[in-house]
Amino acid sequence: MKNILKTKGVLIVSILLLLIIFIFGGMFSRYMTEQISVHQEERYRDSLLELVENGKTLETFEPTEVDVTYTILSEDREYQPEIIEAYYVRDDNENLVAVIYVLSTFGCEDGLVSAYAISTENNELINIKVISHNETVSVAGQFYNLLDESFFNQFENKNLDVIDLSIDSKAGATYSSRAFEQGVKFARELYAADFEFEIPSLQLTINDVYYNYDFSTMVDYPLIADVTFGRDNNVASIYIDSDFTYQGLASGVEPPQEVKDNIKVYVEDSKIINHVVEDMSYNETNHEIVVKVFGYSSQGITVTVTLNDSETAITNIVLTETHESYDADYNARYTGNDVPAVEEQYIDEYLNNDVIIDTVAAATVTSDAMEAVIEWIDGLDATLNGGG
Amino acid sequence: MIFHNAKGIQIDGRKDMCKKHPLIDYLNPDTVYIPLIQRHLKLKPKVDVGDSVKIGQVVAEVGGFGAITSHASISGEVKSFKKVWHSSGKMVEAIEIKNDFKNQLDDRIKEVKNVKELTREELVEIMKDSGLTGLGGAGFPSYIKYQTKEDIHTVIINAVECEPYLTCDYQFIIRFAEKLIKGATYMQRAADANKIVIAYKNYNSKVVEVLKPYLEKYSNIELFPIKDIYPAGWEKYIVEQVTGKTYSTLPAEIGVIVNNSATAIIFSDAVERNIPLISRPVSITGEGVKEPKTFFVPLGTKVSELIDQCGGYVEGLDPMQANYIAGGPMTGRAILIDDLVVNDTLGAVIVKPFEIRDYPECLGCGKCADVCPVYLTPTEIKKAYERKDLRLLDLLDASKCMECGLCSYICPSHVEITDAVSKGKALLKKGAK
């Protein structure tokens, strides 16, 4: 025995030590690794509770199913936000003070997970908290990073008992902004389904939206919306401007203030006109109408339409001004000529062949804008012919 | 400069050990052994077994470049030719002379009357006749330095003794201060120089004390303190400190001759009384001896006799388990036996117990490169030597090494780095030929 210890002692002790380290240390490090998720869970719940001022405990619950869909702006399809979790928040006295919905919405990418806390006491959105997201982040502070404090302040104590629950988008982070807006709207739907809360609504139907081609009023009231409202199904034609804001009554029954205030949301949702052509000016002596449309550039595309002296036919269409740059956002997939080739192509085709051409590849935004202009001109032409 | 700050380092001197006792005369050993070797030259004996010799009588000589004579250091009878241990670390042939305790002087030893009239050539001749060599450790015949064609303006007396443990020069100076001054002036005349500089270690204030009185008499003598660092006694270092100039091989190039202080003292006797080099001071010191002492002994005395004079070994030290270091602890040689004779280059024997220890490998700390006084990189030279890479040895200037031993001294891993470098130096010399 003594002999073995003398010759093999080092071997035995070393291997024993290694084994002890392997087993005991391994258990210890495994325990530590498990603690990571425990701490993360703790931290997650703490951060949710921080949303509600007097919240003390969280209790999960199964929210009622609702069937509402929203448009994914970046992909142009409908989807329903995913419910990740839902919690009742109780205070010291076990009273329900708030409810938190953790929802996943679709911004630039899927998976913008945020917690929306709604106070059950005064039907307010208390605040939201972003848990995780896959939006485009830029170190230079572009895209998602543009959503700053002033953006998130909009959610604080937001009253849900209003018709218009819109959120002001941040330019440059529109998709992400809209995803948050959809999250808030969906949270309200869930809240309405789970609690006795009624989402306020108007009895208002948009029948049609069309351009105003009356030369005397077109500059002030570019669009006319035909609406039906009220229990009596009153009908009216309403002048709206390019922002879809109520401007005045064209004909029919005077709508109540509620309708005037919310017409914008309804026209937007109706999606009858997506690309608004703005009338800039109408010159009686030269018979020239200047119209503007917004494509890629925020400075817009300006087109001048000249009529004959009797104002019965279009004599000329001229591109006055453009600030587009087709390839900037499309990694140079655009292969045609330089600016303003796309704009002029539309005008030429319409003037010479009386057709509206298809979207030009890799210049979609500009094409859409030009298509809207040409359609507007086509409508004007039809009005002139029909009327004259 | 970051990489050129090395100008020697301070080493614990341990000189107090030997300073307790003043220089002790031990002039009548029982037997002396006159080695028949001078540096690498073999001497031819001029006596036979059975001859009786007198003190100062020429017993051996060699001609040619570096011609030198050896003299009997005691009077007595030539007993035999015998191999003895020599400070070079080898056994060499020696003339064994048994002391008859009559102290008969050779005829040549007599008062010289016309000291003041001796010419330069005559002084150099005396230097040659007396077999005077550098007592500092190199053992180079002194007269050769004085035969230089260069114009010498300064004679530097090296009284620095920078090696630890060693006190023989110091005690020799204290005892024969006047002789030192005189010897120095003779040397100045022999070199036809106009200035004498005595370089000493700045903490040895006693040297100043004993030399001060003579300075008034000799206006051309100057005392020059040198910092207490190793290797401050290195010729090149002293010359650079004193004159501010450097040279490549010999100090004569810049008009300087350097001599050891003990050499100067012996030289004054040689000039005034025609006594050749027959005795020198030797320190017997180290942790291994009971009472370290410095002796003034005839050349050829056995070290074992001197150790007995020191009260023998310390308790519990077996003489066979001791290491006898001939010369200073930095540059000396290890002799494994106390059966060693005093020769002209042996300034000290340090007795230390043996040890075998575990040392780590070279860790590459670079301390050896830091301390090297000639800015070599010892680790690289060692590697080049191990690969026998002559080209690299040459590029690394292995030949510049002066074997001061600092790199090995400083090495925290006890690597025999000096040894490797000096072997590299030897290899380079051999390869270059």
Binding site: - | M330, A334, L363, I381, L396
Partner: protein, 401 residues
Amino acid sequence: MARFAGGKAPFLRIANEKGENTKRIMRDFLIGLMPVILFSWYKNGIQVYLDGNINVYEMLYPLFFIITGGLLAYVMEGLFFYITSDKKERDFKGVLRKLNTSFAIIPGVILALLLPLYTPIWILMFAAFIATIVGKMLFGGFGNNVFNPALLGYAIVGFTFSGIVTDINVIFNGSEIIIDSYAGATPLGVLSSFRGSGDALSYSALVEPYGNLWDFFLGTIPGALGETSALAILIGFLWLTYRKVIKWFTPVIYIGTVFVISWLIGIIAGDSGVWFPTYSILTGGVMFAAVYMATEPVTTPTNPLGKIFFALFLGVLTVLFRFVGSLPEGVGTSLIVMNIFAIPIDTYSGIIRTKLTKKPGIAYASILIGVLLILVVYTLVASGSMYTANLSFINAWQVIL
């Protein structure tokens, strides 16, 4: 290795003096690591524990992890000595005697400090095996290893288990679970996202998420166990310099080189503020490597001039790998590369030292300085093109070169 003390001149050796030998140097080196060890324990254990966020076992873990690293290396070397020894020496006395001059603990401790805290123990064991057995003993033991053992262990583990190490890298230590505002990114990870983005380097993106540069100095930012605190490393540096274990100029030149070149890159990338080079030297392992690895005697040049060249090259390579290479951390890679080149640098600088004004000295000096300059220029040009797509004069400059 047993050697005869007193066989050869000189007979007076510092190695025989008490407290002046290699053992003392290595002990002092370990003491020099103490501030870093203590800080990493404080940051990852004690402080978080005092805040009430973790329990006592979790508090002790960082210390356990570091000690285990040292112990593993020690035991593995013991085993190696046992296997390679003669039958006669295979007892405790023989093995311990060899361990005594092998200084096994240090690479193990450094290895533990380099790894993320949540590294599984079996990965630490594997890394310690690579470090001590492959990196050190197979090269011939202490004093003969080409690579820094700890670094080799770290690098091999980093490559072989990159999945696991990357996963746990997201959470570098206990305190960062609690503070989630970083979203788990280390500063260098953020820096690498600038590569080729065309955006100017900005203080707000690089430094502000972690507080300010003072936090970088104190070390309250994410990072491996030992790397984050410049303050603790500085204390270690002062101690090591005071005890003459390391040369003060190696870390200073290394950090200085990284600082200056980073500054130039900052200027090229459109921000000439001093914050950028300061940020550059305070992030990642620059400080730790400068004090504890670039000065490691065995794997770096021995003579002072060689150390200076080594530090200069290391600094340039660190910046090159960090800003141009695809790895966020450039320190480890540059050290491993320079460990190899330490050997020729040592020889060349030895020649330059003794033949400074003669022909071979000038020739070798020009080789070293030439290579250095080429590296500097390449680093500047390459990183210039990576971090500034918007500055046209840089592109013009590149065409000229």
